[in-house]
Structure formats: structure tokens, C-alpha cells
Symmetry: C2
Subunit: 127 residues, 2 copies
Amino acid sequence: MNDKIKPTDAELEILRVLWQWGPCTVRHVHERLPSDPPRGYTTVLKLMQIMSDKKLVRRNEAQRAHIYEAAVSPTQAQGSLVKHLLEKAFDNSTAKLIVQALAARPASPEELAEIRRLLDEAEGEEK
Amino acid sequence: MNDKIKPTDAELEILRVLWQWGPCTVRHVHERLPSDPPRGYTTVLKLMQIMSDKKLVRRNEAQRAHIYEAAVSPTQAQGSLVKHLLEKAFDNSTAKLIVQALAARPASPEELAEIRRLLDEAEGEEK
DNA sequence: CCTAAATTACGAAGAGTTTCGTAGATACAC
DNA sequence: GTGTATCTACGAAACTCTTCGTAATTTAGG
């Protein structure tokens, strides 16, 4: 269904701004984007127009400065990306992916506890 | 260090063959690649030549049919890819990524138990 | 030898991504 | 009104990835 959601890195940065701040003009997104690397205003505009064509964002043209909002949720985008990585690089082994995730960025004890809690939930749904 | 390892999807498929079968000729890789989608022999050859330039694989030219082997381990490649995804799509939250991984592909009770064991290990190293 | 098969090298084309300059339209300030 | 700033649209360039055809080389059969 949402398997086709595969935002590129540049698109993801824009989506993150929209997820965090809600509907924005191009100018607002441009201002809130990481300043490194610096991007031209029209670069961001063009990207957002393309994302609109791809249905990654919706835009409201009522005002002169169009208002863009994310058309995919963080969960949809993240789920699709992680599913893709699982298939292409981890032989669909969730366990292998988790090992690498923990190795790449060690979790704090609090996070580990949180993760255990999530595992309990996952097991609960197993039925 | 190995942050620069970012194999594309097509490159990953070739790496997977080399990881599973060990050093191979282009012909062997071509035969062992998934038949869907079908790829021309020279397409695979070209990809592997590029991968050699990128140092993703090494090649031995002693024989007429060069022998290629992976120059990066599964752990290196997977770790680099997951780290990248963590940064770009998950705000560096390992927990969020694990939630999405479990949602994208529910783990069996055996896997869940395995994952708990890995968490224990991770906690052990915490110091 | 001479041909047929296999292999590498090379180049080019098409698609997708990211970049940005320029032009035209609109709003705002004075 | 006139000029300045802002915004969108458009197109093109640079880059990467993926594809594969063709040519040149080497090997193996007969």
C-alpha cells in the first residue's frame, strides 16, 4: 500500500520540518532547514513542487505564498523505509537489524527499558 | 570511518551474492542474482567494475575471468546503512526504529526472545 | 590455423535527483 | 504610480545510477 513511499534524503529533511512545524510556506521550510549544507531558496521550492507531484506533500494555493503540509505521516514514511531496508539489506531479519541499530547507536538504559516495554506489547499482540 | 559505505540497491544485491557464495566471477554472480528483474550480463559486469572503483569489492585479475570478492562485510554495510537511516529518518532514536521494524515485519516469539537476549548483552556492555 | 564462445573494456543513453538562475506575476511601501 | 521585495514557474545543468550495445581480446575446439 504505502510501499511506494520512498522519500530521498533531501525530501526527508523537508518532511521532517513539516512534521515538526506543521503546514509551512516554502520560506518557512527554507529557514528551518539545517543550514549545513546551505541550500538556495528556489532549490527548496523546486523540491517541494516535485514532492507535491509525488503526493508526498499537499499544497494549498489560496494565498500567494502556497502552504505546504506533509501528505504522509512519520509512521508511514519510517515504516516504508525500514521495511525496504529490512528486505534489501537484512534478509527480512528484524533481529539482525536491531543488533546493528544498537551497535550503530548504543541505547541508554532508559531506552533499553523502553524497548523491552515495546517488545512486551509486540508479544501481547502475537496471540 | 565506514560511514561512506552506502551501497545502492543494485549493489546490495551483488554484495549479497558475494557474501553468501564467497569470491565469484561475474558470470557466477549473474547466474545467482534473482531472475526478477532480469539483468543483462554486461549490466552486472559494469556494476561490479564500478563497485571495484568504489572499493566495495576487490578483484583478482590473475585469471581471464576476474574473481571478485566483497571488500566490505555484511556488518559494515548493514551498520552503515542503519546508521544513516537512524540519522535521516528517526532522529537518532533507536527505539523508534525498532518499533517500526517490528510493525513492518512482526517477529516470531523465538525472534522476540532472541532480541531480548541481545538487549541483555547491550546492557551488559553499558558499564 | 580458424572459427565460435566467453570475457573485459568502453561509451552512451535514459531516468532520477539536486542544484540554481532567470523570468514573470503579485504585493507592499512610499 | 513607481520601485522594491517576494513568490511561483520553468528550464537547464551537473551528477549519480542503471541499463546495455559494440568492439577488442582471449580461450577452446576441431
